[in-house]
């Protein structure tokens, strides 16, 4: 398989992401998230240079600054304020969660190999990038599934968002700049609202354990 440069970076991002479910420390997870997002930002920049689309370069810069640094810092601050540093975990023990996400990484390669993907000219899009994207989505889901704290849920959601972005980037050579900016804004707003909601939940329920929030169904 001939992986292009951006593809190597997104696969690296997917591999780093699979390590996240293995740790219950929020600080470690936030570090991993920063690295994953930074790798995605590098892949975006490489794609931009490769296709001479310099709008995409701006997007890469934004990802590197806001998502790879800004969001982890703000979540770190939130966890400091709430005085939580360790997730209790649920559903699966952390090592098992990590191994299942590694398994899903393999499975996503297996799945996307035969997936009818849009053919992009200039050899831009291949199934490796799609596999990395889908693997990121799986990892995010595993993370959300096996964590109790609301902060970890937000983290899992962000990983899923990264996965969707990677999928779009490698398959369509990036979305139009404005769409990209809009998505980025959505993510930022989502994180902010999530942060505020965590404080709210903490205040009303005196914990941020989502496993205990089962009374909200009708």
């Amino acid at each position: 398989m001939n992986a292009s440069n951006p593809e190597i970076y997104v696969i690296a991002a997917a591999i780093v992401a699979t390590l996240m479910p293995g740790s219950l420390h929020i600080r470690v997870n936030l570090w991993f998230y920063g690295i994953v997002t930074f790798l995605v930002a590098i892949a975006t920049a490489l794609t931009a240079i490769g296709h001479a689309e310099f709008g995409l370069l701006g997007v890469a810069l934004l990802i590197a600054v806001l998502k790879a640094v800004g969001i982890p810092l703000s979540l770190l601050w939130t966890s400091g304020r709430l005085n939580v540093s360790r997730d209790k975990g649920c559903f699966l023990p952390a090592p098992l969660a990590m191994h299942s996400s590694i398994l899903l990484l393999g499975a996503s390669f297996f799945l996307t190999k035969d997936l009818p993907l849009p053919v992009v000219e200039n050899g831009g899009g291949g199934w490796l990038g799609a596999a990395a994207g889908i693997s990121l989505i799986f990892t995010g889901l595993i993370l959300m599934l096996t964590r109790r704290l609301a902060i970890s849920q937000i983290l899992g959601f962000l990983i899923i968002e990264n996965g969707i972005f990677v999928f779009a980037l490698t398959q369509t050579r990036g979305m139009p700049l404005f769409v990209e900016m809009g998505v980025m804004l959505d993510v930022l707003v989502g994180v902010m609202i999530g942060g505020v909601l965590i404080f709210k939940i903490q205040k009303s329920f005196e914990h941020i354990d989502v496993a205990q929030l089962t009374d909200l169904r009708d």
Binding site: L111, L115, L141, V210, A211, R217
Partner: protein
Amino acid sequence: MKYKTDSARLNTTISPLSQTDATAANYRKRNANLVPSALIFAIASGVLLSLVHQGNHLHLIRTAPPMVLGVFPLSFQCDGLASLFMGLLSIILISISFYSPSYLNHFKDRIQMGGYWTAMFLFVGSMYGVVLSADAVTFLVLWEIMSLSSAALVASDYSHRVVQKSAMIYLGATRIATALLCGGFLAMHAVTGSWSFADWTFSSSSSYVAGCLILLAFCIKAGIWPFHIWLPYTHPAAPSTVSALMSGFTIKIAIYGIMRILVCGGLNSPEIINLALFLGAVSTFWGILFALVQNDLKRLLAYSSIENIGMILIAIALGLKAKLAGLEALALVAFVAATFHCMNHGLFKSLLFLCAGTIDTQAHTRDLRRLGGLAKQMPWTAACFLGGSLAICSIPPLNGFASKWLIYQTFFKTTYETSSYLDRGIAFAGICLLSVVGGLTIATFVKAIGVSFLGNARSKSAEIAREAKLGMVVAPLFLLIVCVTLGVGAAQSVPFIAKALVETPGLQSLASPDQLQATVQFPIPMNMIALSLFSMSALIYMFFLKTSRTRKYSTWDCGFGTLSTRTQVSSDSFAQPMARIFRPILKYQAKLKIDGDDCRHFPEKVNVEVQMVSILESRIYLPTLALISHASKYLAKLQAGSIHLYLLYVCITLVVLLLVGVHL
């Protein structure tokens, strides 16, 4: 003393003021119903006048961009069939507009008039729209508005639990009907690639599934067996104006839909036609049998609607059969019979429902076991109810006779004109069925009239009932006049309907209306029949029933004492012989218990208990519903409230979708 005069003066000064206040408020309340009623009258008479003025000229209207649904233009068409049904709706609406102001005054504390009138206008508008719509999307949208607004009208008096339950049953029935209709329409669109009714033909086997779905959907809406159970719940719960409109016209819209889509589309699947024939035949018999044993006047009328709708469906099925066999003239007779009976049933059933509403408001009950002797206190209502009953029992010269005559003619013609012996047998069985049903109809309405209007009052409230206000008398009287006119003028009205039908696109292949006269015994010698009937009745009255001198003397009465109102023939006792014969279907049980030391000769206390269960409801619908709700409990466990579980669902769905994407 001084104090007294002061207070008296005070009273005199205050009371007129407060009185005028009260009357003003009262007047405003009455006015609140007067204005919308007048508006309905204006709309209906406007439509009627424009129909008369325009005749049956074909118009296709496609609305301009502002009046579109998404990207879809609404298209309407007025042809012969549509104008007949619009005329029927207009006539019923005119009588309801007479009836509403006084009738709704009785409900002013129980019904929210704003909501009632909003739903009513939506209902009326959508009914006109459904009749006029020329394509499936327009039809479906207006059909939905019609169903939902009528459900809202049924639930007008929603503080009662019974009303809530009935509205829910009706809503459920309309949901299923709409789902089936959607399925049928989508399938037809897939087959023909068009939404327009004009492009739809049901002559190839690829369209039979769609045809069957559409037929079943309309059967649910029309209240055909076994989908009829919503009717007897809905009509007693709804206000009489609504039940008159629903029984008079809404269920006819389903028949209109069958005519418009299936008949004009040239349905030629023998299986579907036989299915329609079977369902119609069962409905006819089932409906009238259950009508006979009802004690609630409006329930009785609702079941009788099922019978009539079944008869109309039979006529349509016979017409399709005749068309399939190439007997165009016979097909024309059958379709004319179906349409004419639709009109007639719409008229006299609204009349009867309006009269039932009058009885309900004046005697405060619809229970036949508590009514009685109303003819003395409410002569006009009694006369109208009698007229409507005569029409529904198809007594000449009323309109019911004319349309039933045509249906009978269709059957008789089928017995010797078709080549297939099976069809001949079916038609012969149909004649027998029709005669049995006719007999049961007469029994049903003899019971309804005899128990509610004759004899003595069986309750205090029936005793103090008085004739209703003018509007509530004029409305049924107007319908009665239309009924008599249509009946007496059958020689004109039947060719008129035939002409309108033949002008409808899709039915133009039928024989020309001139052939109608050659095909059936026609014109019906209505006047002669009426004249002979009247003279016979007069002769019988003069020679046999004329009351001679009344002799008064005491007789030995076996020690029973004076007769009380409870010794009259009651609703239950009238229906008992028939109910006993058909007790396996009705699940009829009568328990007789006589108390006393020597109960054989000197009964002290006689207790009769009659029990009846609707077999369809208790054996099929309730178990099915129980099964569904039981299954839903398991399904509800999916909604655990745990975020993690929901995420797991998302994850599994994603994997499954990917697998599907890979392997398909």
